[in-house]
């Protein structure tokens, strides 16, 4: 605040001395008001990112303070959106800091009626076992017309349009190597 802060504790005195007799501005400011700073200034760092919602690809700046995301807004340098965002892009902080986000693995046993907790290691082991088993059980060296196909019809996958190219690359590479061909994503719905 360019103006210097008066030392008088009682605003009424400041009204008399600071040319703000009606107590409209300079005289009535609280200390907190004088020392206010935006989160975008007090942030530790800024990550340059891209909005996860539609395919326009609006540039975003993610402000981080004490390892927590404190603000996400448009990137003014981006030629795509010139710092602007739509309601969904503007709600990105609400998305990543939502209290409804899942943070632990949940497991539903066959015929179960409730979720159960599962630690990450066990879950990964269980999925790896099932992948190997399902792959083998539904393996087709030859199809019904005796054509060599070397594939498994036991594993299917859906998803990719919200994922990164690098992720899609590994997914396609791994599934193809395993012979899983029923691989699809939102591009076809």
């Amino acid at each position: 605040m360019a103006e210097s802060r008066s030392l008088l504790p009682w605003p009424v005195l400041r009204q008399l001395t600071s040319g703000d007799l009606l107590g409209r501005g300079k005289a009535v400011r609280s200390r907190r008001t004088d020392e206010v700073e935006p989160r975008t200034t007090t942030a530790d760092r800024v990550a340059r990112s891209v909005c996860p919602y539609c395919a326009v690809g609006c540039g975003q700046k993610i402000f981080v303070k004490d390892e927590k995301i404190v603000q996400i807004e448009g990137d003014p340098d981006s030629p795509v959106n010139r710092g602007r965002l739509c309601p969904k892009g503007s709600a990105s902080k609400n998305l990543v800091t939502s209290s409804l986000r899942e943070t632990t693995v949940k497991y539903r046993r066959p015929h179960g009626t409730e979720w159960e907790e599962l630690d990450l290691t066990t879950a990964m082991e269980m999925v790896a076992d099932r992948v190997v088993k399902s792959r083998r059980d539904a393996w087709q060296e030859l199809d019904e017309k005796d054509r060599r196909v070397r594939r498994t019809m036991g594993i299917a996958s859906l998803g990719g349009a919200t994922l990164d190219n690098e992720e899609n690359y590994l997914i396609k590479k791994l599934f193809t190597a395993m012979g899983a061909i029923q691989i699809e994503n939102q591009a076809r719905i």
Partner: protein
């Protein structure tokens, strides 16, 4: 566009302020219409009639951009005399095999100099092959491979010859008169002609018109032909490859473009290389030749280099010349393995495990009930998402649990819900709708056990390889020989024991592999031209080569827009080779001069470089030093065959395709077919809907009856769904957020005041919408933004619904996608989920088992009987016979659906 891509819409508003006229053609008055200069309400599913009418207006009045059309499109090329059009064959093109419901495109081919009819096999596939192509959504590949044209097709530059494409097109659309458009689309002739005038007066040397569509346009049984019609019109008016022109697709997900370039799709490999199938691709050579079709022009000629580089990237040192670079390791597809086929297989119990990676089919895909019943019959399901989406909790709170069709205690599916890292908690690239890759920096670590897909699949692959380590079984070689050792960082950063401690694989390392590198030195390639077929280079996706040029992550460039041109080439990186407008050679005339100063974009500078170079505001989408005057030597092929006046360098003839002799399964030219579910008989000819569409004729996928079948009046209204600005696709990333959910808190159904009065619907009361699949309820929003239309002398009411709701999140409601059945576009197997017929009734829908009774009662009244499915081919028998006569193939092929 203002609804689902508001920030992209800033450029439309800016253009409007500079005097541009914005026309919005949409069944419903949306937020785009609110700001547009003109809103043209149109009947859902009649877009080809509308655009065909404009094409006819252009051709009848000779308003096409003649220099552009003659030089840059195949307008002058002559078509074989054996081609017969839909007007003569009651809605079919020539060469239709009614049993296999596909075309033999031989009769569509160009009239090539070495005598008509003797097209080489490479050029034409027989109807069995096209049936295989429908099954494997080959259109997606052909579209990118371009047509294969061998030999010199005859041309008539004066465009007078009756068999030149220009005249074939004119005759084809001759019946699309303003009256026909008014009768079919419900658009008044005045409005229609105003659009025609605006479009044509704003195209040519000095001005360009842009055609923008949202991806809903592709969700029709004739979706690909919708886009073809738009492309033909833009080619005729010379708007392709030029600034302010073109056809812009607005995609709904951040990286849908990326997920087809580096496809998690069943029918293609990265870079649009087709997944091999046993019949056409027994060996690597057959595979490569099927793509590049020797003799044709275009950049596909280097398909061998692209394929070998991919195989080297997949299997590294194991891929050697003598084992065809592990070509045999690739699994083969043998038909339709699309998501809808897989879901129906799940219902039949044929699928064991299912991964859902940031997708929510329980409410996001068509025929929600089938999706959920399919998931209920799996061995195991892995869902990776930010929230507990409906696809994860179907077993306890899906509509089918309410109707009793899924009983939790009896549902055997084992479900794993893995928490996923959000976009801000992992680094990597999206590919935006304008083919631009943008790298995202990681802001913070993911919370708790949330991890990225990169982490999950890298470690899953590692664990699977460990489990198969000792195997001597031949089938496990591809997994064990896989090049799968990526550098991992941040070990132990997110946890100390077990999987929590596993590190994150380096996304940059993966992007480098995608970019491609020299195997010996590891030097990143800077263009796909550098790719070799001898195994000396590796590259995960040839069209992305250059994203890591000079070892720099070009996708992470963020030079401020203030410091560069309006094309902003130094922000992110666009494939191919950072060209921002494809085919931008077409922005210059045949001599390489800009069509006009105002619209200059890329042009030939004779004194640049040794003998002149292409230059301009964008990276030229053309060989830099190939002069406009260059003509291909006799018998040349591939890149060398592309002449100085061939801007469309991916096409087999280097020209824009007004007429596509092959590559499209449902015809060389778009023609009006009614949607699969329509209250109207096709006004043009006997063939009611797309004869080559993909159908799944099953009792759990019955369709509403459409003329000529009876009882189509049981579902008298036309309905469509689309997006609200406040929500995102099926709601998985918006219904769980207070700040978005409170903006649109309840599922609603928009009806016109006239329909409200007719059906007794009360504003803000409840109504339910019924189809042969299900019934969904919503609050009634009576609004004048929807208006009844006069079609063929009858009034038709159109109903609109958002499809963002489901059982989970802060705001819940029924999912509109439950209403649609599954019938697919033949070229790319995308479902028709933007148009259907329905009934609308006041009050809330019945709950529990009563819901199924309501739907069954409707099916009964609509004459829907198990085991019986309406005819697909409704053209006259005589027409079918004459069309079949033009087909080359013998008739002993087996029955195919």
């Amino acid at each position: 566009m203002a609804e689902a891509h508001p920030v992209g819409f800033q450029w439309v508003v800016e253009a409007q302020q500079r005097g541009a006229k914005v026309i919005h053609v949409d069944p419903r008055f949306t937020r785009t219409s609110a700001v547009a200069d003109k809103h043209v309400p149109i009947r859902v599913g009649s877009d080809i009639a509308f655009l065909g009418g404009i094409i006819s207006y252009v051709l009848e009045n000779g308003l096409d951009f003649r220099d552009y059309v003659v030089n840059y499109t195949n307008a002058a090329t002559l078509v074989s005399d054996r081609f017969e059009d839909t007007d003569d064959l009651d809605g079919l093109f020539s060469g239709f095999d009614p049993d296999k419901r596909t075309y033999d495109p031989t009769s569509w081919q160009y009239d090539v100099e070495d005598g008509p009819g003797e097209q080489s096999t490479a050029q034409a596939d027989d109807s069995e092959e096209t049936q295989a192509q429908r099954e494997s959504a080959a259109g997606l590949q052909h579209e990118a491979h371009g047509m294969q044209v061998e030999g010199k097709p005859r041309r008539d530059e004066t465009l007078q010859h009756p068999r030149c494409v220009y005249q074939v097109l004119r005759r084809h659309f001759a019946r699309y008169t303003p009256e026909m458009v008014e009768q079919t689309c419900g658009v008044s002739q005045a409005d229609f002609l105003e659009v025609c005038r605006a479009w044509t007066e704003n195209s040519g040397r000095e001005r360009t018109t842009a055609l923008v569509y949202s991806v809903g346009w592709t969700q029709h049984s004739v979706g690909v032909q919708y886009i073809r019609t738009g492309a033909i019109l833009q080619l005729l008016l010379g708007n392709m490859g030029r600034p302010g022109g073109g056809v812009m697709a607005l995609r709904g997900h951040a990286s849908i473009q990326g997920s087809t370039d580096i496809p998690t799709l069943f029918n293609i490999l990265p870079g649009y290389l087709p997944m091999p199938n046993p019949d056409q691709h027994p060996t690597l050579t057959d595979y490569v030749d099927s793509i590049r079709n020797p003799g044709s022009k275009g950049f596909w000629s280097k398909a061998d280099a692209y394929t070998v580089s991919l195989l080297k990237a997949y299997w590294g040192d194991a891929a050697t010349p003598d084992n065809d670079f592990c070509f045999d390791y690739l699994p083969r597809i043998t038909g339709d393995h699309g998501t809808y086929r897989t879901v129906l297989d799940m219902i039949d119990g044929k699928v064991s495990g299912y991964f859902l990676l940031g997708q929510n089919p329980a409410v996001g895909s068509a025929h929600g009930r089938a999706q959920r019943l399919g998931m209920a019959n799996l061995d195991w399901l892995v869902v990776r998402d930010l929230f507990e989406i409906e696809s994860a909790s179907f077993w306890k709170d899906s509509p089918e649990v309410a109707t009793g069709e899924i009983v939790p205690e009896e549902c055997r599916t084992e479900v794993f819900l893995f928490p996923a890292a959000s976009y801000a908690e992992k680094e990597g690239t999206f590919t935006q709708t304008q083919r631009m890759l943008q790298w995202r920096e990681k802001a913070v670590d993911p919370p708790g056990d949330c991890r990225s897909e990169l982490w999950f699949f890298y470690h899953l692959g590692r664990m699977v390889r460990e489990r198969l380590a000792g195997s001597t079984d031949e089938r496990d070689r591809p997994v064990l020989d896989l090049a799968w050792d990526y550098p991992v960082h941040d070990e132990g950063a997110l946890g100390t024991e077990g999987a929590q401690a596993w590190g994150e694989p380096s996304a940059e390392a993966v992007l480098k592999e995608i970019n491609g590198f020299d195997v010996a030195t590891g030097r990143p390639l800077s263009s796909f031209v550098e790719m070799k077929a001898d195994g000396s280079t590796a590259g995960g996706c040839w069209i992305y080569t250059g994203v890591f040029a000079d070892g720099v992550n070009q996708a992470n460039r963020r030079k401020s827009r203030h410091d560069q041109s309006f094309v902003a080439p130094e922000w992110g990186w666009a494939w191919p080779l950072n060209r921002r407008i494809l085919y931008n050679r077409a922005s210059a005339d045949p001599e390489g001069r800009p069509w006009s100063e105002r619209k200059a974009f890329v042009w030939w500078d004779p004194d640049k470089g040794e003998a002149g170079e292409w230059t301009g505001h964008d990276v030229p989408d053309f060989e830099k030093t190939k002069a406009p005057s260059y003509r291909a030597p006799e018998g040349s092929e591939g890149v060398e065959a592309i002449e100085g006046v061939d801007p469309f360098i991916m096409q087999g003839d280097g020209k824009g395709a007004l007429y596509a002799p092959q590559g499209l399964i449902d015809g060389p030219m778009p023609t009006h077919y009614e949607p699969v579910e329509s209250p109207f008989r096709n006004p043009l000819y006997g063939q009611q809907a797309n004869p080559t569409r993909k159908q799944y004729r099953r009792d759990d996928n019955q369709l509403n009856p459409a003329p000529p079948e009876e009882h189509s009046d049981v579902f008298p209204f036309v309905f469509t769904t689309s997006r609200l600005t406040e929500h995102h696709t099926a709601g998985g990333m918006s219904r769980y957020l207070e700040h978005l959910a409170e903006l649109q808190p309840e599922m609603f159904v928009e009806v016109s005041p006239a329909l409200a009065r007719e059906q007794g619907l009360e504003h803000m009361g409840w109504c339910h919408v019924v189809t042969a699949r299900s019934a969904v309820e919503g609050r009634v929003m009576v609004t004048e933004r929807l208006r009844p239309l006069r079609i063929e002398g009858r009034t038709v009411h159109q109903v609109w619904m958002p499809y963002h709701w489901g059982g989970g999140g802060l705001v819940t409601g029924d999912s509109a996608n439950d209403l649609f059945g599954i019938s697919l576009d033949p070229n790319v197997l995308i479902q028709e989920s933007k148009v259907g017929t329905c009934d609308v009734r006041p009050g809330r829908r019945p709950t529990g088992a009563a819901l199924r009774e309501l739907v069954t009662d409707y099916a009964r009244r609509a004459g829907i009987v198990d085991g019986v499915h309406p005819r697909v081919v409704t053209a006259s028998a005589d027409a079918q016979a004459r069309s079949l006569a033009a087909a080359e193939t013998s008739d002993d092929d087996q029955e195919g659906q």
